[in-house]
């Protein structure tokens, strides 16, 4: 061997050291600091999904999501946490009867929780008075104004019929599932509201996982463990019966009709759906749907504008990773990562697998660019759930958050590589590259738990992005961003009339110092969760947005020049941008107009 080659060997044998503290500053990026203030801010609910002692069935391993939404229109984000509780055979099972010969049911020993924000990010449990404390085997949640009355309602996905909770405007909820047609009886996880057919009301896509019926599939459930890396664990999803997804069309009066078949959702075989996000992948003005399917090709439902869908997944390159592997696809992040105006995707996956980043190349093409970001072995060995592209450091470039935790408690047997409890990870975008800054991004990321769903938004009114992360058998994490959001614009879009008051599907592009920041209003995403509907623009030190273009769901456009940052603002369609709150930079309204 040539001496020069031999000289390379020490490099080969040494793993790259983790980024040292201060390395971020060397790159010129502001540090990200997330601190878990859940307990201090009153979020203390202990949530369960299955038997914490022994998770026998996959149903007990998936976990739950959460929602950050404004329940009462007071301008701050309230918090809804999904709970599942445990399952078991019927309590009246005759003595001596085989418990596995009958269908198990939720024990209803868990209760979804609703917390009210006081405006400063301190929470009060208002579950009992709100009517939102349903007892179901809950999985996920999304929020939207399905009935056009100007407040946000909740849709909770479950094992068993999903629930629609109608808001009376004050934050009191009534279960109106019966009669609205959206009580999907399958095991549902991800869901998203959006206007599929351009008629202004919000339709609903529901991702369904698998048919879990203990009495029907005794081979899968009866005292059998499946080998996970030679460690016995719960079986599935492979070998079990996948469910078809559902698409419900809003009839315009607040009721829905199951249009799955006619909309084309059943054109391909059922897959094990988990993550769901509705976004416009090709900028043709309608909203498409991307579905992360567990162990099966992901679906990219291309909308023809009339609510008829064609799965473009395989042809687009976003169905499987570059190697052709169908991944676990628990959560989906969606955002314009590279500032080209197109929405890119990131999909969280199993341990011993990458979280895959798909670059939207336009024309319905996506490229797996995962390996261009140095995620490293910690990401590869982690098992990802909730995720989103968000701008933690306010520089305008989207960063990536991934909630982690293993599916199987038995993973601990495989230490040091694997563990049930894992750290959430943050990847900061610096010069176009996502770098793992977890070790330096605050004490909140040092906590280990088996995390699941995550929701994102400005919880404490300082215009930076905070995170709520659900944890199995533990209270959630409330990661408060210690940044000050000084320059950021937090923009709420509203439509004054019609059924889509919160402008779901609207798109806004801010031009700041030559950079373009594209954002879209979405109801659903991450893993089974719902994030702040307001659009967050970090200006990276610039005082103003040079130009802001807003495209409303009906295609109407408005443009604004010289828009001040450093405030929370509201834009009602056709009007001007009005400041809602500006503790650091009071501002009058900006002139603008429809076009």
């Amino acid at each position: 061997m040539a001496p020069a080659l031999l000289a390379l060997l020490p490099l080969l044998l040494l793993a790259l050291p983790p980024r040292a503290a201060g390395a971020v500053a060397q790159d010129g990026a502001a540090p990200i600091t997330l601190v878990d203030e859940a307990a201090a801010r009153g979020v203390t609910a202990l949530l369960h999904c299955g038997d914490p002692v022994k998770r026998r069935y996959l149903l007990e391993c998936i976990g739950c999501g959460c929602a950050l939404f404004d329940k009462d229109g007071d301008g701050d984000l309230d918090l809804f946490l999904v709970d599942a509780g445990t399952i078991g055979p019927p309590p009246d099972l005759p003595e001596g009867a085989d418990p596995l010969a009958v269908d198990w049911k939720p024990r209803k020993d868990g209760q979804c929780r609703l917390y009210e924000n006081d405006g400063a990010g301190r929470f009060r449990d208002v579950t009992e008075a709100s009517g939102a404390g349903i007892r179901v085997f809950g999985q996920g949640v999304t929020a939207a104004d399905y009935d056009g009355d100007g407040d946000l309602d909740l849709y909770v996905t479950c094992w068993g019929p999903n629930r629609l909770l109608q808001n009376d405007g004050s934050g009191r909820f009534t279960d109106v599932t019966r009669g609205t047609g959206v009580g999907d009886p399958h095991w549902s996880v991800g869901a998203a509201f959006f206007d599929a057919d351009g008629d202004d009301d919000l339709d609903l896509y529901v991702g369904n996982y698998l048919a879990m019926a203990i009495a029907r599939d005794p081979d899968c459930w009866r005292k059998v463990d499946c080998p996970f890396l030679d460690v016995p664990a719960a079986c599935g999803p492979k070998g079990m019966v996948p469910e078809t997804d559902s698409f419900f069309r809003n009839k315009g009066d607040g009721d829905f009709r199951d249009m799955s078949e006619k909309a084309g959702i059943h054109d391909h075989e059922p897959r094990y759906a988990l993550g769901v996000v509705a976004f416009d992948h090709d900028q043709d003005g309608d909203v498409d749907v991307y579905v992360g399917n567990d162990s099966r090709a992901n679906s990219l439902w291309d909308n023809d504008g009339k609510g008829r869908f064609f799965d473009l997944g395989d042809l687009s390159g976003a169905a499987v990773n570059r190697d052709g592997v169908a991944q676990a696809s628990m959560g989906v992040a969606c955002g314009d990562l590279d500032g080209d105006g197109l929405f890119d995707l990131a999909v969280t996956n199993f341990s011993h697998d990458d979280n895959t980043v798909y670059r939207n190349e336009g024309g319905g093409n996506f490229a797996d660019i995962t390996a261009r970001h140095p995620f490293g072995s910690k990401a590869y060995l982690s098992l990802g759930w909730g995720t989103e592209f968000v701008d933690f450091d306010g520089d305008g470039a989207l960063d990536l958050f991934v909630a982690n935790g293993h599916v199987y408690p038995e993973a601990d047997v495989r230490a040091p590589e694997l563990s049930w409890k894992q750290q959430n990870r943050v990847y900061q975008q610096v010069n176009g590259i996502l770098r793992d800054v977890t070790d330096t991004a605050g004490s909140g990321l040092q906590r280990k738990a088996s995390f699941r769903g995550a929701a994102f938004g400005d919880v404490d009114g300082d215009r930076d992005v905070d995170v709520v992360v659900m944890a199995m058998d533990e209270p959630p994490a409330l990661l408060i961003n210690q940044g000050d959001g000084r320059d950021a614009l937090l923009l709420e879009l509203r439509q004054p009339t019609g059924m889509n008051r919160f402008a779901i599907g609207a798109r806004a592009v801010a031009t700041v110092g030559g950079k373009r920041l594209a954002r879209q209003v979405r109801a659903g995403g991450s893993f089974a969760s719902m994030s702040d509907l307001r659009l967050h623009f970090g200006l990276g030190g610039a005082p103003r947005i040079d130009r802001l273009e807003v495209t409303w769901p009906d295609g109407t456009r408005q443009e604004f020049g010289d828009v001040a940052g450093g405030r929370t603002a509201r834009l009602v369609k056709g009007g001007a941008i009005e400041t809602v709150a500006a503790p650091s930079a009071p501002s009058a309204s900006d002139a603008g107009g429809g076009r």
Binding site: R222, C226, L315, L381, R414
Partner: protein, 353 residues
């Protein structure tokens, strides 16, 4: 890809182990003990007969007779080793060799080459956890034997213990820094750990040292993954005509993928078409061909290619599910669950092609 990497690692391990094991046999043959150390004449005759049965393709009879021979002298380590060696190295029959390797391990195979043989057969037989134990004990006993560290790395890698495998490969490379095969396997392990820079360096050295037939296309692949497109093209283009058929196929597929991603579908098309002709069961060749056809504005042929891809994918899913269900049924019938290391549970983290 992960499963493929494991298979390549195991194959590489045995190829290396076999070369050294043969050398050891040849050396010992000229010394005081015969290559087949069976001192009982009757057993030796039976052993020769069993070998003939196996060579004649009468595998069940051969296996039964070999088992009977071992049962007749269950404490005979040399006999167990000889049978393991012959079945693995001469007959390439690891399934039959597996119980004899296990017996040899139980009897305490003590020499380094014997440990290597037993461990390699266990790895090839899918008993990676047992193999890891054998190699770990061997490496502790013979810490200067790079083959044992190498085998330990392969066994750990097969179980997806990539961090621990890295330690073993590092030690093997410290002892044998110019071994191209070990470098190649270390590169595979770095790839599994998503340390593409280290993998690139390892594969580059493996190519220069002719460490493995797959080294060139794997180098091209990790370059492409990192966005080093020109360097990838420089590596993959000559690889189209180098190495064995399988390696050339992979080079064509990787270069075709790269060109599709680089908006050079017209150049990718003949490569990917040829790939589907050479290996019509390669779903990835069909998928990337479909993408090239679509990029060239040929949606109808793209749809046909994608249909073929979907059929192949469904077949693979069905086979995998049947395997899982067979494991479940075996458990329900009281059999031991032995799912290998692939992960019957667990979501879509399996290997590609």
């Amino acid at each position: 890809m992960i499963a493929g990497a494991v298979r390549r690692n195991v194959g590489a391990a045995l190829a290396l182990a076999a070369s050294f094991a043969f050398a050891a046999s040849a050396a010992s043959a000229g010394q005081e003990e015969p290559p087949v150390a069976v001192d009982n004449a009757a057993l030796f005759a039976r052993w020769q007969a069993a070998q003939k049965l196996h060579a004649a393709g009468k595998l069940d009879e051969a296996r039964a007779e070999m088992a009977a021979i071992l049962a007749a002298d269950p404490r005979n380590l040399e006999l167990a080793l000889a049978m393991t060696r012959w079945l693995a190295e001469v007959r390439d029959d690891f399934a039959t060799a597996l119980p004899f390797a296990r017996r040899a391990a139980e009897l305490g195979a003590a020499k380094a080459d014997a440990i290597n043989l037993v461990g390699s057969v266990l790895t090839m037989g899918g008993a990676a956890a047992e193999s890891e134990r054998v190699f770990a004990a061997g490496a502790e006993k013979f810490p200067a034997d790079f083959l044992l560290w190498f085998g330990l790395g392969v066994a750990r890698g097969q179980q997806k213990k990539y961090l621990e495998a890295k330690v073993a490969f590092a030690e093997a490379l410290r002892l044998a820094p110019e071994n191209g095969l070990v470098l190649f396997s270390a590169g595979e392990n770095f790839t599994n750990l998503r340390d593409y820079e280290a993998a690139e360096r390892a594969f580059l050295l493996a190519v220069k040292l002719k460490g493995h037939d797959d080294a060139s296309w794997r180098l091209g692949q990790v370059l492409a993954l990192q966005g080093k497109h020109e360097a990838a093209e420089k590596v993959l283009t000559p690889a189209l005509t180098q190495g064995g058929k399988a390696a050339r196929f992979q080079a064509a597929l990787q270069l075709g993928m790269l060109w599709v991603e680089r908006d050079r579908a017209a150049e990718a098309l003949p490569l990917l078409t040829q790939a589907t002709e050479e290996r019509p069961t390669s779903r990835e060749a069909w998928r990337w061909l479909a993408r090239a056809q679509r990029a060239l504005g040929r949606p109808e042929v793209a749809t046909r290619s994608m249909k073929r891809y979907a059929e192949l994918r469904a077949d693979e899913d069905r086979i995998e599910e049947e395997h899982l269900l067979s494991l479940i049924r075996a458990q329900l019938q009281g059999g031991a669950a032995s799912g290998g290391s692939g992960g019957g549970s667990g979501s879509g983290s399996g290997g590609g092609e």
